[in-house]
């Protein structure tokens, strides 16, 4: 069976102004198949996070010709149309059900326990409790932390919790924005290995922003083509498959 296309984008652009320069993220052509593991590379500040935010539907593109999201075969949604018509609730629904997002840091709700943080996406999707939280916690070695508040955890432990939360509702796509950047090398490697292993196990489509080329190569990720072009004082960052 041939894998279907999860993300399909054509000429999607996002422009944003920095104090002295204008940046432009440009995606001339991007197709991501179900189950692919993609590495998004580039210097910091070149638009990796912006690309992931656009794909996570948390950031509206400045312009787009074609933007479709098909989390499961046969359930294609027109994201360009949804943004154009301000159907925020549809976007929230698509995001909540199908996407797990691991931010560079934090993103956990500080006022509920680790366990509740992990279970929240699952509850939103009305999935049966099962033992998902326990299994994820065991794999990520945070079983002892489940009933603590995020503020009682180390940064490394919090990133493990963020990984668990991104996976708990069995999403079809996981986006991770340098999830280990704020960890020491040893912990970073450990968390990354666990993360990739879990993604493999669940057959999830993964987009990982990273500047650790070596590690990404070792893990056998498909790299997204990336070019940085400077024209008339505007820095254009292009990503395409």
């Amino acid at each position: 069976m041939k894998a279907h296309t999860v993300f399909s984008l054509r000429n999607v652009k996002k422009t944003w102004a920095a104090p002295d320069e204008e940046f432009k993220l440009s995606i001339p052509h991007l197709e991501i198949k179900a189950g692919q593991q993609i590495a998004v590379q580039g210097q910091s500040g070149c638009g990796k996070s912006t690309l992931l935010d656009v794909l996570a539907m948390t950031l509206e593109p400045t312009s787009s010709e074609h933007f479709r999201f098909e989390p499961k075969k046969g359930s294609s949604a027109d994201i360009r149309d949804a943004w154009a018509n301000r159907r925020m609730d549809q976007l929230a629904g698509l995001r909540g059900r199908n996407i797990g997002y691991v931010l560079q840091t934090g993103g956990l709700l500080p006022f509920i326990t680790v366990r509740e943080n992990i279970e929240l996406p699952r509850q939103l999707c009305r999935l049966p409790p099962k033992h998902t939280t326990q299994l994820l916690a065991e794999r990520l070695k945070i079983t002892d932390q489940l009933d603590k508040l995020p503020s009682d955890l180390s940064v490394g432990q919090r990133q493990r919790v963020a990984v668990a939360r991104a996976l708990s509702h069995e999403p079809t796509v996981v986006l991770a924005d340098e999830p280990t950047a704020s960890l020491d090398p040893h912990t970073a490697a450990e968390v990354m290995d666990l993360f990739v292993e879990l993604v493999h196990l669940q057959g999830i489509t993964l987009l990982l922003a990273s500047h650790d080329w070596v590690r990404v190569d070792e893990l056998g990720f498909t790299k997204l083509h990336h070019e940085q072009i400077e024209e008339n004082g505007t820095l254009r960052s292009e990503y395409y498959s």
Binding site: A77, D89, Q90, G107, Q123
Partner: protein, 415 residues
């Protein structure tokens, strides 16, 4: 909507629970908001309580004092029973009763059978509906009951339920004779109602006393045996008359002054006008202070709720990222504001209760007959809470609307 976009678990109830958890988590910040609300609201409540308790009560007592609704006759007149019937039938008049001649309405009262203290008192005609008595005692009926003024009761050392002996003297052909009747004290009215030595009795008894003094016999009391009973046409020299409301005073006054008879009457119209003016000035002064206070209160509370939403931008963005719809996320700050409004409003009402108790007990003596110098009715508390809730929900909803309109990634990354 296709199955892949369903996330019906993102319910307002779940958001409400998260909002409450957040408030509990940030105990200090929540307490500051609750105390901040109570700190502004409590003085307002006390101010309003004082206005309602002192001014309104005072003015109402003054305005509703039956003595201010009385119209008194100057000198004597001649009024027959038809006149009284006509007056009693008028809509403006709440109570009217015949008065006998002043000289005839004075008698001696003694406590007990004999040998007790003696007091010479003025008798006032009374009947059911008498506005002077209604709060304190049942009106006297027949020839065997009397309501005493406090001063008389003190003098005779009697109280409700005791018996007093009333003696009437008359002089005929140079000879003094005396008759008496036993009266049961059915009540005592305070000095504020009647300060002199006095007793309220039925008009029948008063007429009997007047007749006896005039030389007639009163067979039903076995007074003046041997004389004839009175059987002519009876005229009364005066009346006790109360109108229904203060607005009726001038109407009835004009009626009595006019009509060819030209009676002279005394009313409290001028005093009433002064009290009303005083009330108007005080009310408008209070209203200005209250308006400024209430506006300041609602604005400061609204602003603090707005700031609370701004502080929650990142959490709200996380909720958006997890797939909560904007319309549901709105409940997060709204629930928080509502809880703070309820706690703060409740605390303010509690503090008001304590402070008003202190004020009322401190001024207990001065307050005298008034129920409380500082008090509010349940409806006032209800209005307070509703206004606070409306302000809370509106400001939180506006701030939340603004906060959830932005793309989630901005709220997540800008902090």
């Amino acid at each position: 909507m296709s199955q892949s976009t369903q996330n019906s678990g993102a319910t307002p109830l779940r958001i409400a629970r998260l909002a409450a958890r957040d408030l509990l988590h940030q105990k200090m910040a929540s307490l500051v908001m609750v105390f901040g609300l109570a700190a502004v609201l409590t003085p307002l409540l006390v101010l309003f309580g004082l206005k309602f308790g002192v001014i309104d009560n005072l003015v109402r007592e003054l305005v509703e004092d039956p003595q201010n609704r009385e119209i008194r006759l100057v000198g004597h007149g001649r009024f027959d029973k038809y006149w009284f019937k006509d007056m009693a039938g008028r809509e403006e008049i709440s109570f009217v009763i015949p008065r006998t001649r002043g000289a005839a309405a004075t008698i001696d009262l003694r406590s007990g059978q004999s040998g007790g203290t003696k007091a010479t008192v003025e008798l006032i005609p009374s009947a059911p509906g008498d506005p002077l008595l209604e709060k304190y005692a049942k009106a006297p009926v027949g020839d065997s009951t009397i309501v005493l003024s406090a001063r008389t009761a003190r003098l005779l050392e009697v109280s409700k339920g005791d018996k007093v002996k009333a003696s009437v003297r008359r002089k005929r052909d140079g000879q003094w004779s005396r008759e008496h009747v036993f009266l049961r004290v059915t009540g005592v009215v305070p000095d504020s109602v009647f300060a002199r030595k006095g007793g309220f009795v039925s008009p029948g008894l008063l007429t009997a006393i007047e007749d006896y003094r005039d030389g007639y016999a009163i067979p039903r009391l076995s007074w003046g045996q041997g004389d004839k009973p009175f059987d002519g046409k009876r005229y009364f020299s005066g009346f006790r008359l109360y109108v229904r409301s203060l607005d009726d005073v001038p109407v009835v006054r004009d009626l009595l002054i006019g009509g060819g008879k030209g009676y002279e009457v005394i009313t409290q119209a001028k005093a009433i006008e002064e009290v009303r003016l005083f009330d108007r000035y005080l009310t408008s002064t209070y209203l200005m202070i209250a308006l400024i206070g209430v506006a300041g209160y609602l604005l400061s509370f609204g602003a603090s709720m707005w700031v609370n939403v701004e502080r929650k931008r990142r959490e709200l963005s996380v909720l958006q990222l997890l797939g909560f719809k904007s319309s549901v996320i709105m409940f997060f700050p709204i629930v928080q504001s509502t809880l703070i409004a309820l706690c703060g409003g409740g605390l303010a009402i509690l503090l008001f209760g304590l402070i008003s108790m202190l004020i009322n007990s401190y001024f207990a003596q001065a307050a005298g007959q008034f129920e409380g110098l500082c008090r509010l009715l349940p409806i006032h508390f209800a209005i307070t809470l509703v206004a606070t809730l409306i302000s809370a929900v509106l400001s939180a909803a506006m701030a939340a609307y603004r906060a959830t309109r932005i793309e989630p990634s901005k709220g997540l990354r800008e902090l």
